[in-house]
């Protein structure tokens, strides 16, 4: 990555037009400030992470022992469904958008997002969308119980009444995502400071540019598929009903055409974050900057032609199985490029292991484990054994929890001093890291074994031979869940007090955001900084 020398004529606000934040509740309701909106996204995401986490703990508590202990099977199904939906759409995606809001304008030398009012709109849709989704828990028949992938006909013919609320909730959160993505693309393409060429942009910005493209391309497809569901449920169409010439498998095709790019939407910004953090603490430039950019772009393009690897057992023609198998395995190539580049960046660097770096290194190792189990699942004949078992659960939790979630935590610890102006409490940060690291692995590693041995996912009971590993996973889940209270404590403590942070914060940090004071002023740049 190019180093940037910055000439800042004045970072303090001298222009009377640029005042500080407004007072009271109005500041948050009407704000057009990317930092306010970024903070709201992050707080919203943390709230949803906790709600989704409680649901996960209900699931793990039920699975602690074989037999039915705590909840009814139907409620168990509601928990798996809502946990998935909330974590994907409420926790991971808004967290990345929040980080984008905070960091992209600062990293490219922009005054704010390109379309600040639409930015506010994108955020404020989310609380309404999730209120609608959560309210379905209290409706007759209960919340959606058909899994976060909401396959038809479970989600149409056999769905509880609340499915319609779910559909409209998805519609408005999709609108929020599309507007957020349009804003990010317009900001990156149009608001860069003079001299900030595309190939000088920090990788977090690059990965978000590509992620935003994916969002605009696939969120409308999600809107399309839930609209087809809506019409099948209420208006007599037969998209997913073979009696009228439709096909339930059509649902899966359209859903996964959205769904597979969606999983990259949840990991590409993580790649960007890790590519920012590792060079800082290895005190070396990122190895292979341009190959990183091309790798992300190829992963994004390939993500459009691999969707049916989620459907190997559904009864596709052989040529489809073979095509989707090889296309999927191709993704390992650019992903491997990224892992090797991170490793090469650390090689012979003068490394230190502050909290963000610990999370970043754990990301590289554990995400790679998740990647390898993904390769196993990509092999169509083997997938007939693994499909819908806990092996799949282990796989996607390895890429999402120590993958996406760890990257979000790494990013929070990395940039928190820039946001609050206070240095981190390293002891508490490391405590949080080690508890999380142990908790995650104790939770999800045993799931590989029970999955390979045939334990199906989304079932509240299991055969006796799976008991030991399941109780282990449940203990790990409670360790991981409660250690997040340390995270919340760390964030609150850092906002309230702490040693004054310097502008650069981390000794090896490079880039525009480290040239402005900590905390960053309410309006970072009132005139474009010069980037050489």
């Amino acid at each position: 990555m190019a180093t940037v020398d910055v000439d800042l004529p004045h970072v303090k606000d001298e222009d009377p037009h640029h005042h500080g934040p407004a007072k009271g509740l109005g500041r948050w309701l009407y704000t057009t400030n990317h930092k306010d909106i970024g903070s709201m996204y992050l707080i919203f995401s943390l709230t949803m992470f906790m709600i989704g986490g409680i649901m996960a703990l209900i699931i793990r508590a039920e699975l602690f022992q074989p037999g039915l202990q705590l909840v009814e099977p139907n409620f168990f199904n509601q928990m798996t469904t809502m946990h998935g939906l909330i974590m994907v759409f409420g926790a991971v995606m808004p967290a990345f958008v929040g980080l984008a809001n905070w960091m992209i304008p600062m990293q490219i030398g922009a005054p704010d997002m390109a379309l600040p009012r639409m930015n506010n709109w994108s955020f404020w849709i989310l609380p309404f969308a999730f209120l609608i989704l959560l309210s379905s828990l209290f409706m007759p028949g209960g919340a959606p119980n058909f899994g976060w992938t909401f396959y038809a006909p479970l989600s149409t013919t056999y769905a509880p009444e609340s499915v319609t609320f779910f559909i409209f909730g998805v519609h408005i959160m999709g609108a929020s995502s599309i507007m957020g993505a349009i804003n990010i693309i317009a900001t990156i393409l149009n608001m860069r400071a003079p001299g900030m060429t595309l190939m000088k942009m920090p990788l977090f910005v690059w990965t978000w540019l590509i992620t935003a493209f994916l969002l605009i391309a696939v969120m409308p497809v999600l809107a399309g598929v839930v609209t087809m569901m809506l019409m099948d449920i209420h208006f007599g169409t037969s998209f997913f009903n073979a009696a009228g010439g439709g096909d339930p498998v059509l649902f899966q095709h359209v859903f996964w055409f959205f769904g597979h790019p969606e999983v990259y939407i949840m990991i590409l910004p993580a790649f960007g974050i890790i590519s920012e953090i590792i060079p800082t603490f290895a005190r070396k430039r990122l190895f292979g900057y341009s190959s990183m950019v091309y790798a992300v772009a190829s992963i994004a393009l390939l993500s459009f032609v691999v969707w049916a690897h989620h459907m190997f057992t559904v009864g596709m023609p052989l040529v489809g199985e073979v095509f989707f198998m090889f296309a999927t395995m191709l993704i390992a190539v650019p992903t491997g490029v990224k892992v090797f580049n991170w490793t090469a960046t650390m090689f012979r660097g003068s490394m230190t292991f502050e909290t963000p770096m610990l999370f970043a290194i754990a990301f590289v190792v554990l995400f790679t484990i998740g990647g390898f189990s993904g390769l196993m699942l990509a092999i169509a004949p083997a997938d007939f054994q693994y499909h819908d078992t806990y092996f799949v659960v282990a796989h996607f939790h390895y890429v999402l929890v120590p993958g996406a979630i760890f990257s979000i935590m790494a990013a929070t610890y990395y940039w928190l001093p820039k946001w609050t102006g206070h240095q981190l409490n390293e002891t508490m940060g490391k405590l949080h890291f080690w508890l999380s690291f142990v908790g995650v692995n104790v939770t999800f590693f045993p799931m590989h074994f029970v999955g390979l041995a045939g334990m199906p996912r989304r079932i509240p009971d299991y055969a006796l031979q799976f008991a030991d590993f399941n109780s282990m996973a449940s203990v790990g889940a409670f360790i991981f869940g409660f250690s997040q209270l340390v995270f919340i404590y760390n964030v609150i403590q850092n906002v309230r007090a702490g040693e004054k942070a310097t502008a650069q914060v981390w000794e090896g940090a490079q880039g525009l955001e480290w040239t402005v004071p900590s905390p960053a002023p309410y309006h970072t740049f009132s005139t474009p900084p010069k980037v050489d």
């Binding site: 969308a129 408005i172 208006f235 073979a242």
Partner: protein
């Protein structure tokens, strides 16, 4: 002002109100439809109506603010570029929405309907619907009791052909209007714009006539199997977009009467024109893949 200092728009109450309206619309629509299918009363329509009221208030207020700020010269060239990019990406997202429905159409035609009819290596599913043969348009559905197929489909060479000519002509007339605007010929601008709107309204009228014929004479309904489902969803969403586009063109005409737009700065007009071309292109796709083939 571009280049020297940055411009950041002031705080605004419109986005949060827009979010409130979307929340009400979503909740109200869900309440209404759930009650409709369960055949019971609900106050969903009131929530939905409230959502629409707030929405219209927001649309009027937000655009009013935009127009005022632009007239005050607050909009920098940079913001203008952001608007353009935003509109183009919005249209791209709309294209992808239609792609989902076109994809569904291609999938059922190429794969699933022939399979239910017994073709290919997935043709074993035919045992579920013995005697069913795959045809397109699918007039005989596998289960004629649950999904009674249509007796015939719309003939593409009558109204749809006329509609194709109407929409393509309207794309041309809106371009004439744009050129007239750039040459500052206000009378020509207003005339071409009005012509576009008239063509659009005739198009919509013919679509309504066609729907009426489909429902009353051909038995082609949402309920008549996958042909009816894809036909009405594709043409219906297109028709809805034409309605939206026509409204936008009409607002542009009113603003022209009001003396808005200069030969140099007229982004709103251009955005509507782009949207109109997009609606036109989708129709060409519909005419080929839904009506003719």
């Amino acid at each position: 002002m571009s280049g020297s200092t940055y411009y950041v728009p002031e705080q605004s109450k419109w986005p949060i109100l827009a979010s409130v309206s979307l929340g009400l619309l979503a909740y109200g629509a869900a309440m209404t439809m759930t009650a409709m299918t369960a055949d019971r009363d609900s106050f969903g329509p009131w929530v939905l109506g409230g959502g629409f009221l707030v929405l219209f208030y927001v649309i009027f207020g937000w655009f009013k603010d935009q127009i005022r700020e632009e007239a005050e010269g607050l909009h920098s060239d940079q913001l203008d570029r952001s608007y353009r990019q935003g509109m183009l990406w919005f249209i791209f997202s709309e294209v992808m929405f239609f792609c989902a429905f076109f994809g569904a159409l291609f999938y059922v035609r190429v794969f699933s309907v022939p399979w239910i009819g017994g073709e290919g290596d997935k043709g074993v599913t035919n045992m579920l619907w013995e005697g069913f043969t795959a045809t397109w348009p699918l007039l005989q559905t596998p289960d004629m009791k649950q999904f009674p197929g249509a007796t015939a489909v719309i003939d593409p060479w009558h109204l749809p052909l006329v509609n194709t000519v109407l929409l393509i002509t309207s794309s041309v007339t809106v371009t004439f209007a744009h050129h007239a605007l750039k040459e500052n010929k206000r009378r020509a601008l207003e005339a071409w714009l009005a012509a576009t709107i008239i063509l659009a309204v005739i198009f919509l009228y013919f679509q309504a006539v066609e729907y009426h014929e489909a429902y009353t004479e051909l038995g082609l309904t949402l309920n008549s199997g996958i042909y009816g489902a894809t036909f009405f969803m594709l043409t219906g969403f297109h028709g809805f977009h034409v309605m939206l586009g026509t409204t936008m063109l009409f607002v542009m005409l009113l603003r022209c009467f009001d003396g808005a737009f200069s030969p140099e700065k007229h982004f709103a007009f251009e955005a509507v024109a782009w949207y109109w071309h997009f609606v036109d292109v989708v129709w060409v796709g519909l005419f080929i893949f839904v009506y003719i083939l």
